[in-house]
């Protein structure tokens, strides 16, 4: 790059305020946080499998994969990547088949893109990828508020390389300024004609579903030899890919908690919280979460009998509602415990706790 070009780039970076912190709109781009699991095998349905904020969307295919948050030593500065490993191939690709690794964004977090205005900004996406062999996949920006798409093909080799893709600004379709889904960053790894049937053009905003995936797309499910590694994902305003913005594990985890939080006992009889029995079979206990969640979450628990009531006999919990009550800002919840045997006294304060093991887990899911 010439000196003049370098200065021009620097000027653009300064103009777009990319020198400052929080350049990276992506959360958990370095794949550090994995509250749910480090590895999930036999993925057959869409799920947030391992690393937080990253969803594997799979549809209509017989292909299956294992997803792992894997430690890496062959990319300086990065400790983890997400590894996708094809375990069942599917070489007969029906129209609606898809495999996509993606992150979803709230509209209120993307107003700086000025999308749908005459001042709309370019968007630059960068990430490090490798695979078992050369391949071509498709990276896509998807405006879910206005059903608009822009995608570009990229290449994968057997060594980690940084892919940098700058997407043109979109002066059509503003993003809603709220906490709902507005936008996705998609990595298409397998796609049927519903997505590939049309004639694809890189880096054009459009509304045609069958032009979303590139004409040279490789199918991840073409062989059980196929692997795909990705880390260092960054999405930023402007046409320059700045160095990956490393955030501390603590910062990244706090950002993830807005969308998913799991509370897991590390010791037997770990206390969840306290509350008053309102009849002989039911009591509640309130507990806080580290940061207010995005929305009223879907709750789940490991098993009913992983929860007990201090002073009462072990077991005997036949029902739980992980978030039966909530504060308006989703910063605090009350679990409801239903007991068999009518062993509670109405009006008495009880302590809800883990049983005599470390199996107790409460999951709160407020993903987009």
């Amino acid at each position: 790059m010439t000196k003049a070009a370098e200065l021009a780039k620097m000027g653009e970076v300064l103009t777009n305020s990319q020198i400052g912190g929080r350049r990276n709109i992506v959360i958990n781009g370095a794949m550090q946080v994995a509250q749910r699991s480090a590895s999930v095998t036999g993925i057959a349905a869409s799920t947030y499998a391992t690393v937080d904020r990253w969803k594997t969307a799979i549809g209509s295919t017989a292909g299956r994969l294992t997803q792992t948050q894997t430690a890496i030593t062959d990319l300086s500065g990065f400790a983890f990547a997400t590894k996708l490993d094809c375990t069942t191939a599917d070489t007969s690709i029906a129209a609606g088949e898809t495999l996509m690794f993606h992150q979803r964004f709230e509209g209120q977090d993307l107003q700086q893109l000025k999308k749908g205005t005459s001042d709309a900004e370019k968007i630059t996406v960068s990430f490090f990828v490798k695979g078992n062999a050369s391949a071509t996949y498709t990276c896509e920006l998807q405006d879910t508020d206005n059903a608009r798409f822009n995608s570009q093909e990229f290449s994968v080799t057997t060594s980690f390389t940084r892919v940098i893709l700058t997407f043109v600004a979109d002066t059509t379709g503003a993003l809603t300024n709220d906490n709902a889904l507005s936008f996705q960053l998609n990595i298409h790894l397998h796609a049927g004609s519903t997505f590939t049937g049309g004639s694809h053009t890189d880096n054009v905003w459009h509304t045609t579903a069958n032009q979303r995936v590139g004409d040279n797309q490789t199918s991840f499910f073409d062989s059980t030899d196929r692997t795909f590694f990705i880390t260092g994902v960054q999405m930023e305003v402007g046409s320059v890919a700045t160095n990956f913005e490393h955030r501390s594990f603590g910062e990244e985890r706090q950002l993830c908690y807005r969308y998913f939080y799991t509370m897991k006992a590390a010791t037997a009889f770990m206390k969840v919280g306290h509350g008053r029995a309102y009849n002989t079979s039911n009591t509640t206990a309130t507990y806080p979460v580290p940061v207010p969640m995005r929305a009223n979450p879907t709750g789940s628990v490991s098993a009913n009998d992983d929860f007990g009531v201090a002073g009462e006999s072990a077991g005997g919990t036949t029902g739980t509602s992980a978030a039966a009550e909530t504060m308006d800002d989703f910063s605090r919840f009350a679990i409801n415990i239903t007991r068999s045997g009518a062993d509670l006294t109405a009006g008495t304060i009880y302590q809800v706790e883990a049983d005599n093991n470390t199996d107790m887990r409460i999951n709160l899911d407020a993903e987009l």
């Binding site: 906490n179 490991s302 039966a324 239903t338 899911d365």
Partner: protein, 60 residues
Amino acid sequence: MKVTNVKYWKYPLTGKVTHIYCNIEGRAEQQQVPIDNGNTDYKNIKVQVDAGTLTIEDAD
């Protein structure tokens, strides 16, 4: 989104239906979905109910 074993849940304290209990995408753990338009799972369930492709069993 594949949803099975779908049933309304009534909060015993208030007697009001506040959640939908179900299994989502084959997960073994029962999911407790709040009846709240801000919740992504509820929105997906509602689409299927409105389309007539999903029926929710009454609460106990």
